[in-house]
Symmetry: C2
Subunit: 235 residues, 2 copies
């Protein structure tokens, strides 16, 4: 298989897309371990494309979900594992140009390479056909995963996840402290801090109730110490 | 000022944009501390819109910048501080609907509220006028900041930043270890781990040289322990 011919046929068959600039997709399918233009920059762009397309889709589909729930739902669709699975289903691996060292890599490493390449393909779709082309392909590819998303109300809350995360690492539990209560009694705003002393970390959260403020603080702490955990929640 | 009239005039004057759905922009300009539909969900969407528009712009403007450099450059444009400044320049604060508690908040808190509302406005622009409308407004608003971005080559590297971050917190320095070297001598791939024992964290990076692999590992470590630091770099 020479040059861009393989990728073009693959795009046509796997995504139903006819590219204008075949070289762009050849780059999207080239890992940095191989010679020639690789997919790192396209991956940067494609990550943003995927995030927007999925954010937009979820925004419409879950009109009552909070911002935090939407973030968590999105992470279930666009994080490494689901993307690698979609890439595998598309046999994207057969199209990938890899350096000799990477050919043998398996497991986690291989998953990252597949997920990154799928992101790069999304970036190439966006450059080649604009947002509509990317939107169409992404929605089609991810539809089964989006359809299988749990009810936002079933997601574990941030305080619970933070506690579980710290316990699993034998770290002391976080300390929540109400820093300030502002506003009239009927419209108060709570500012709460969350501290994990052992890690020397302290963040704040706010909300219209103490519970909400604590959840926001826990969410921020999770993002700080375990971004993947903050993203990938399950019932 | 009643209902959506103020926002509509503001959009026209500050952004040169004529909204179809004025209620959408009224929501974008309503903080959760106020009554009625607020801007939290639009902020989620707008964050993704901003990230994509700026990613696309930087991708075109810096054709030789690496993925990591592009991420760092973007963070300088779309993080809280610059967004809050843009929002202040637009007098977005005058349009904001806030609960009584929030009216008195200043400094950091006020910056977050302004930046979040600007993101929400970007989300509303996207829903109201599609990506072109958002792209036009965002590019115009952020052009001065994008023009002032440093040469990517001048950005501090991840290893240096990680070291500075840990030193400032009296933590032990990270330990880098070459885990694997693969491939033929002329096309090797290095796998390097970076460990911060005190935090119980260990990540890996890869690249075509030991130096590159270490930088990628440091980058990932920074993202894990200090997302803001990983994003906000300076020369």
């Amino acid at each position: 298989m020479t040059g861009a011919e393989g990728p073009v046929r693959w795009l046509r068959e796997a995504l139903g897309y006819e590219p204008r600039d075949a070289a762009l997709f050849a780059a999207a399918l080239t890992h940095r371990s191989a010679a020639g233009p690789n997919n790192e920059r396209l991956e940067f762009l494609g990550d943003a494309v995927l995030n927007l397309v999925v954010a937009h889709h979820l925004y419409g589909r879950f009109p009552r979900a909070s911002e935090g729930d939407l973030s968590r739902l999105r992470a279930r669709v666009v994080s490494r594992e689901p993307l690698a699975q979609v890439a595998a289903d598309l046999k994207l691996g057969d199209m990938l140009q890899l350096g000799s060292g990477e050919l043998r890599s398996g497991g986690f490493r291989r998953q990252s390479i597949l997920a990154d390449a799928l992101e790069a393909v999304c970036g190439a779709l966006f450059l080649d056909g604009g947002l509509p082309a990317a939107q169409q392909a992404i929605t089609r590819l991810l539809a089964p995963r989006i359809a299988a998303l749990p009810d936002p109300a079933m997601l574990k809350d941030a305080k619970t996840l933070l506690q579980e995360y710290l316990q699993a690492r034998s770290l002391t539990l976080p300390h929540y402290h109400v820093e300030r209560i502002e506003g009239e009694p009927h419209a108060q705003t709570f500012r709460v801090s969350c501290e994990v002393a052992e890690l020397g970390l302290r963040v704040q959260g706010g909300g219209s109730s103490r519970r909400r403020a604590e959840q926001q603080a826990a969410e921020r702490m999770l993002r700080a110490i375990a971004p993947e955990q903050a993203a990938d929640r399950g019932p």
